[in-house]
Amino acid sequence: MTPLFRVLAAVLLLVGIAGPAANAAGIEDKIEIMGQLKDVKVVEIQARVRNGLLFVQTEMENLSPNTQQVFYRIKWLEESGFQAWDDEAWKTLVLYGHQRQTLVSSAPTPMAKDFRVILHTKGKDQQETDRDTNTSFKY
């Protein structure tokens, strides 16, 4: 992302008229992946300010035919980059084979002006254990 685009995106985000979607480079800036995110793709991230609160819409796609489980939470940031709220609880998202799923998250405080989508998948060993024991439906 060029410095000019970064500034423009930040300004648009602050006034609540950010474009319909972040581009590929923009998405990379907004997500933090912990562990592996194999066969799960973040397709699009959109942000809007509505009634003073920041809303984030994240669209994810399961590229594999198998059901996958993703853990996620949003980190809300002030304009200065300081964290605007306590750590959220981790949440579970179940993605069926080749499913596209949209998550909408709203900021807990008007002080939140920026965000990071933090994604975490089960470790490889755990995924293999689930497959072997056929308990991947546990969630």
Partner: protein, 203 residues
């Protein structure tokens, strides 16, 4: 004499630590007896099918985020709310007060609403007022006057229900948490939302 007393105390402390099996290491500020460790309090907990910490946190987060988007809250005059009962209609023990406490904490932190003391806290509130005004122990100028408590504009109430099914080794639990905000003066429900959770396990 004093030094001797201190020495005996130190010896007693060392003996107590030795007997309890605690270990301290010079390289870390930890006293550990073995199997105890701190974990991530926000981690997804799937130890059993019963209502757990992740369910409580998820419900509190979803409800508080939804409520701050309601029309009466957006209006911006920080309405005064009181927490009424959240009925537990499930077959298991769930501390619903803990859920409403978390919702209230998040809403207060957001600054969008104010809360009046609920029924549970009313006795403590009135006792304090009575003590300040009737005991004769307090300066007149610092006594908080009786008759100035504010009546809440809205009441927060709800329920949690569950459907439990078993088939062979599979157990499926579906929870539904419903919450609503009622205008106390006219009885109109101004906001309501639900959060549902499904937990399935197999042996």
């Amino acid at each position: 004499m004093k030094i001797k007393h201190v020495s005996i105390s130190i010896l007693a402390l060392v003996a107590a630590l030795s007997l309890s099996g605690c270990e301290t290491t010079g390289s870390s500020p930890e006293v550990s007896g073995g199997n105890v460790k701190y974990g991530d309090s926000k981690a997804v907990e799937t130890l059993t099918n019963e209502f757990g910490s992740t369910d409580l946190q998820t419900i509190a987060e979803a409800m508080s985020r939804s409520m701050v988007q309601s029309r009466v809250i957006i209006a911006g005059n920080r309405p005064l709310v009181t927490v009424s009962e959240v009925k537990n209609k499930t077959s298991e023990y769930i501390d619903t007060k803990s859920i409403t406490d978390s919702i209230r904490a998040q809403l207060l932190k957001s600054g969008a609403v104010r809360f009046a003391v609920d029924i549970d806290a009313m006795k403590t509130q009135t006792d304090e007022l009575m003590r300040q005004n009737n005991s004769g122990l307090y300066k007149k100028t610092t006594q908080k006057k009786v008759g100035n408590m504010q009546g809440a504009d809205y009441r927060l109430e709800g329920n949690i229900t569950s459907i439990v099914k078993r088939a062979g080794d599979v157990k499926d639990v579906y929870y539904k948490f419903s919450l609503q905000l009622v205008d106390i003066e006219n009885g109109v429900i101004e906001w309501a939302d639900e959060k549902d959770i499904r937990k399935t396990s197999g042996r």
